[in-house]
Symmetry: C2
Subunit: 265 residues, 2 copies
Amino acid sequence: MHTIAVINQKGGVGKTTTTVNLAVALARAGQRVGVIDLDPQSHASLHLGADVQRAAPTTYELLTSDVSLSEVWRDTEEGVRLAPANLDLAAAEVELAGVVGRELILRDKLQADAESFDFVLVDCPPSLGVLTINALSAVRDVMLPLQPHFLALHGLSKLMKTVGIVQSRLNNQLRLAGVVLCMYESSAKLSAEISADVAEYIAKLREQGGIGRTAQLFEQRIRRNIRLAEAPSFGQSIFRYDGRCNGAEDYRRLADEVLAVYGAG
Amino acid sequence: MHTIAVINQKGGVGKTTTTVNLAVALARAGQRVGVIDLDPQSHASLHLGADVQRAAPTTYELLTSDVSLSEVWRDTEEGVRLAPANLDLAAAEVELAGVVGRELILRDKLQADAESFDFVLVDCPPSLGVLTINALSAVRDVMLPLQPHFLALHGLSKLMKTVGIVQSRLNNQLRLAGVVLCMYESSAKLSAEISADVAEYIAKLREQGGIGRTAQLFEQRIRRNIRLAEAPSFGQSIFRYDGRCNGAEDYRRLADEVLAVYGAG
Ligand SMILES: Nc1ncnc2c1ncn2[C@@H]1O[C@H](COP(=O)(O)OP(=O)(O)OP(=O)(O)O)[C@@H](O)[C@H]1O
Ligand SMILES: Nc1ncnc2c1ncn2[C@@H]1O[C@H](COP(=O)(O)OP(=O)(O)OP(=O)(O)O)[C@@H](O)[C@H]1O
Ligand SMILES: [Mg+2]
Ligand SMILES: [Mg+2]
């Protein structure tokens, strides 16, 4: 089972859009896929058509009570299973402060889960708090969506530091699997410039060894495409909403590249 | 003195870009302006050319020690004063948990500050944690940048609930001053659709009275303009970077509208 945390403390860079559409693309390629929503805003859950007002257990109960992951998994109409979030999760940060082992709750419950998946993707909020640390402690790989804007580089080294700390103290198997450029504007030279900077940064990471040695910049970039922003309002992945647009094309190819990297499928 | 918290728990919607460029536009219109950076990512500080590695006191020390605001204010080359943030601020959320009156620290220090400004703008992180609550407790007005995408509406009611709670328990004078549409794509019908939904939502808010009764949708929209994304890499506001592009035009007009609303200038 390949477990991937989709992370970036910078807001609005495409974490949720990537988690959802990559998960669905992998499912359409025959993989058994689960999505865990760890963002109190529950956008991944909404995007997958979940009813977040329903009283059924969510990732909030998963982290703050003894509910098991199997009680949280739900079906979706997209061929992936979903462990949905809801707004209560915002309270988890405070509620868990001071609870011993609070960073390892997701890991324990994921390991105890009997359900078998080929891929589990975890959508994280734009912060490096207890929710994101739970994701980092529970998975093997980190996937980093990055918008090719200037500030993307600034946050990268802080993020790598955090990933490094989790790897040394809480989760030895953690590694940076890949960076995927999102909201790429082919017409903007800023995109090209930042992409070159990112490629350079990743090359350095690989040389330094440690957690960055497996780092790679995915060849497939996700281009800006308004269809990707429209799809969530219908509770649909891009494949159901408009399977032929550039957005669908790009995520389909990203899934192929992910499968090649894992030697899976 | 008009105090404005720039807020939205959704990531990457233009909070920092708006805080910085609106502040500078107001200063260029003759106002005395201060910017307080409450985001651990310190993007507003970087955008204003501050050296965030410097050991001088930042908003982290402001919130966690007895340093005064006057020890934190710095000059910038943009004609605004800056109380910069740095990455240490990420620890504040945890450090302040359990501290009595932790939501009111900024308010107390702002009230104690002798420096006189016409406008103070506070840039907030994409969350509704203790940093954002400090901003909400310290200011009179809330400004909400909104990207006209579907999920913008979903977060709006949760945000208004939080603003309402702060207003009733911690800060009676708090009110929603305005929503400004950012990253507006005139060619996309999604922008037009969501804008119409936002206008409708604001009309309802005004009718309900209470904190929403002063709510307004600013007429000036900030259009997508790559120059706005390029400017931060030079540590410059849009006015120094490219004073004639659409981005500069839009923020200049937004400043005029803000001044008209406040009957100032
Ligand atoms: N390639 C794209 N082209 C156009 N719009 C996009 C693209 N990717 C994402 N979007 C839209 O941009 C907004 C931000 O994307 P998204 O919510 O996936 O980012 P995020 O990193 O998960 O944000 P947050 O930090 O708030 O969790 C959303 O409205 C989304 O629909
Ligand atoms: N109108 C615009 N046109 C093009 N790019 C923009 C525009 N406004 C902001 N940007 C860019 O989009 C990205 C996100 O904007 P910004 O950082 O201001 O959002 P934010 O809400 O402060 O994000 P966060 O939630 O991470 O604090 C930045 O790289 C910024 O330079
Ligand atoms: Mg998200
Ligand atoms: Mg910001």
